[in-house]
């Protein structure tokens, strides 16, 4: 187990990186606490897998440092780093039994047979593989095989970190939930640092204590699922997390007050804007937008475009001056006819400058 620190980490797959777009990872600095459960969330191609391979030592970064418990491991091999990784597709040793698969990393490290046996049985019991130890690994189903790849990591008691690279991609939907809760339970039991890469927000939010959102080679925000939801650091986080994503509306700020299409809008942080230019936007989640009662004329006048039933609530799409505003209406509440006014909850309405949340300290990053 270890605390993992990344210092100014950058990586490029190009020999002579020049343009900004040549970098797969752009100067990442982040601390991951010992024993934490982290999710690395982002769209395909944002650098998640690259980051994972750099941490595991399969890829040498172009620049920067990786520290495990304060020790520089940038040049160490995956074996020396003593990490475990579960890949997108189950990687098992076909010709071996389940038992031999789990014992393989221990035997390679010269652990004595009695200890190997004890560890393998312990891990098999944790993963509910004990009744198939003698079976050939190739005969198992996809979820069984993924358990084996996880088990090979767990078998080493001193493993520093276990990394998961979209491990549920090939698992049947009804088993995904089972494996996910198994993983969460395992983490609580053994408290090894775990990093879970995914582009599925449900997976990230249910697994992790802390979610790291990446976009385009950068870390956009790190926080608990609640923080990401209530106070997105970047409009990208607002879009990417939540369904439907955050409403983003152009705005202007004058005298510490935001206006959208000429209408004043209250927000948490408009006062923090220091008038230094940039593209200004308002962000508010559909969850925090509501219809004003009939007859009231405060808020933003809108035309109702369409409503979509999403089970417990309905997603209503409205429009003001060609800008779309979505809101959620709970089941059983009426939706006004053609036009109405909507109110944005002031304590959940944020101002963004060039995409980043405006804070007193300037840019949020």
């Amino acid at each position: 187990m270890a605390q993992i620190q990344l210092r100014e980490l950058r990586h490029s797959y190009v020999d002579q990186p020049a343009a900004d777009s040549d970098w797969a990872l752009k100067r990442l600095t982040i601390d991951w606490a010992d024993g934490g459960a982290y999710a690395l969330l982002g769209p395909s191609g944002c650098g998640k897998t690259t980051l994972l391979n750099v941490i595991s030592g399969l890829l040498r970064p172009t620049g920067g440092q990786i520290l495990f418990d304060g020790r520089d491991v940038t040049d160490a091999s995956p074996e020396q780093r003593n990490i475990a990784q579960v890949f997108q597709f189950p990687v098992i040793y076909d010709t071996m039994t389940v038992y031999d698969n789990l014992a393989f990393p221990l035997r390679n490290r010269g652990v004595d047979a009695r200890e190997v046996d004890r560890r393998v049985r312990e891990v098999a019991e944790m993963l509910e593989l004990d009744d198939m130890l003698r079976h050939r690994a190739a005969g198992l189903t996809a979820d069984g095989k993924q358990k084996i790849s996880l088990g090979r990591g767990l078998a080493r008691s001193d493993v520093n970190v276990i990394m998961f690279d979209e491990p549920l991609t090939v698992i049947d939907p009804h088993l995904k939930w089972v494996l996910r809760s198994k993983l969460k339970e395992l983490h609580q039991r053994i408290r090894v640092t775990m990093i879970y890469v995914t582009h599925d927000q449900t997976e990230a939010l249910t697994f992790a204590d802390q979610v790291v959102v990446m976009n385009d080679g950068e870390i956009v925000q790190t926080g608990t699922p609640v923080e990401l939801f209530e106070r997105p650091n970047h409009t990208f986080v607002g879009h990417f997390i939540g369904s439907p994503g955050m409403n983003v509306l152009p705005c202007e700020i004058a005298g510490g007050r935001a206006t959208f299409a000429g209408l004043p809008v209250d927000s948490v942080n408009a006062g923090a804007y220091r008038g230094d230019g940039g593209r200004l936007e308002l962000g508010v989640r559909p969850e925090f937008v509501s219809f004003a009662p009939a007859g009231a004329d405060d808020g933003i006048p809108v035309r109702i475009v369409k409503a979509l039933d999403a089970g417990r609530h309905r997603i209503v799409e409205t429009e003001h001056a060609d800008h779309k505003i979505k809101l959620l209406v709970p089941e059983g509440e009426a939706i006004p006819g053609d036009t109405a006014h909507v109110r944005l909850a002031p304590e959940r309405t944020w101002v963004y400058r060039d995409g980043w949340l405006v804070t007193g300290k300037g840019a949020a990053r």
């Binding site: 595991s56 399969l58 091999s77 990784q85 990687v91 393989f104 990591g153």
Partner: protein, 287 residues
């Protein structure tokens, strides 16, 4: 449910049936025909039952060629399969050298078989051949037209040169198709190179190797052109393999009956051994 029955669809199959009939079934049946008859010139045929088969199976000459054939094929497989696998493992996986290697490997396969025989004939010529000169310079008394050992050496060397590439290309294709994640997992698990080969590469190459062994078995069992051009089956009968013996019987002596019986036995041996190989190599998979 109503199914449309249209027997006229059989016409679509006709071209294939005709093709197969003319190029496989009819010649094969002719051979079967010959194998149970005694023939004299000007189209006189008499029923002879299984006499030719008995004769062939008892013939010492047949036994000798079969034994030579088995020894040759065993030697070929024992050299070409491990060598081909080793070369494939040593070839680069990416970069500019990949295409260079692939072209070099494919070259021997593109040369017509009789040209291969002729090339090695020239190489091995006692007076001017590069091979014989080199061996002489190294102090060996090498003369493949006189020494059976030297003839065997040359024939095997020629076949290895000609056909190892096939094994290499098949194995290389198999190796390239192993996903990177396997190698990465092995690194993380601390596997040594030997373990990577034993537990990842070899199991993943199983099907490819089966195909390679089967192809090399069948081809080497039927080898004819290269050897005839190089040694003509000699010295004496030292390199007279089954197909050469067969041609000598059928066309040299014009013994159609025994030759037909012999080719049927030959055919059945190849079929049987291919089946055996295949079942043995695939058996473990289903367990």
């Amino acid at each position: 449910m109503n199914k449309t029955v249209n027997q006229r669809a059989w016409w679509f199959v006709l071209p294939v049936v005709l093709l197969v009939a003319f190029n496989a079934v009819i010649p094969l049946m002719t051979v079967v025909n010959y194998s149970v008859q005694e023939s004299f010139g000007s189209n006189m045929f008499f029923w002879s039952g299984v006499r030719w088969f008995e004769e062939v199976l008892r013939s010492e000459r047949f036994h000798a060629s079969l034994l030579r054939q088995l020894a040759f094929t065993a030697a070929i497989l024992a050299i070409e399969v491990p060598l081909g696998l080793a070369i494939a493992l040593a070839m680069p996986r990416r970069g500019p050298w990949v295409s260079v290697c692939l072209v070099l490997m494919a070259l021997p396969l593109l040369i017509p078989w009789n040209v291969v025989g002729a090339m090695w004939n020239i190489m091995a010529l006692p007076t001017i051949g590069l091979l014989s000169e080199t061996l002489h310079a190294l102090g060996f008394d090498y003369n493949y037209t006189r020494e059976p050992g030297a003839a065997w050496f040359t024939v095997i060397l020629m076949d290895v040169w000609h056909w190892t590439s096939l094994v290499v290309l098949l194995c290389y294709a198999g190796l390239v198709s192993i996903p990177d994640a396997y190698y990465q997992a092995a690194k993380i698990d601390g596997a040594r190179p030997w373990a990577v080969f034993r537990y990842i590469q070899l199991p993943k190459l199983r099907y490819v190797l089966t195909i390679a062994i089967l192809l090399r078995f069948m081809d080497s069992f039927m080898i004819y052109t290269e050897v005839v051009v190089l040694t003509g089956g000699g010295p004496g009968t030292a390199t007279t393999f089954l197909s050469i013996d067969l041609v000598k019987t059928a066309l040299g002596q014009f013994d159609l009956g025994p030759a037909a019986a012999m080719s049927l036995v030959y055919f059945l041996i190849i079929l049987l051994m291919s089946w055996l190989f295949y079942t043995l190599m695939m058996r473990n998979q289903s367990r």
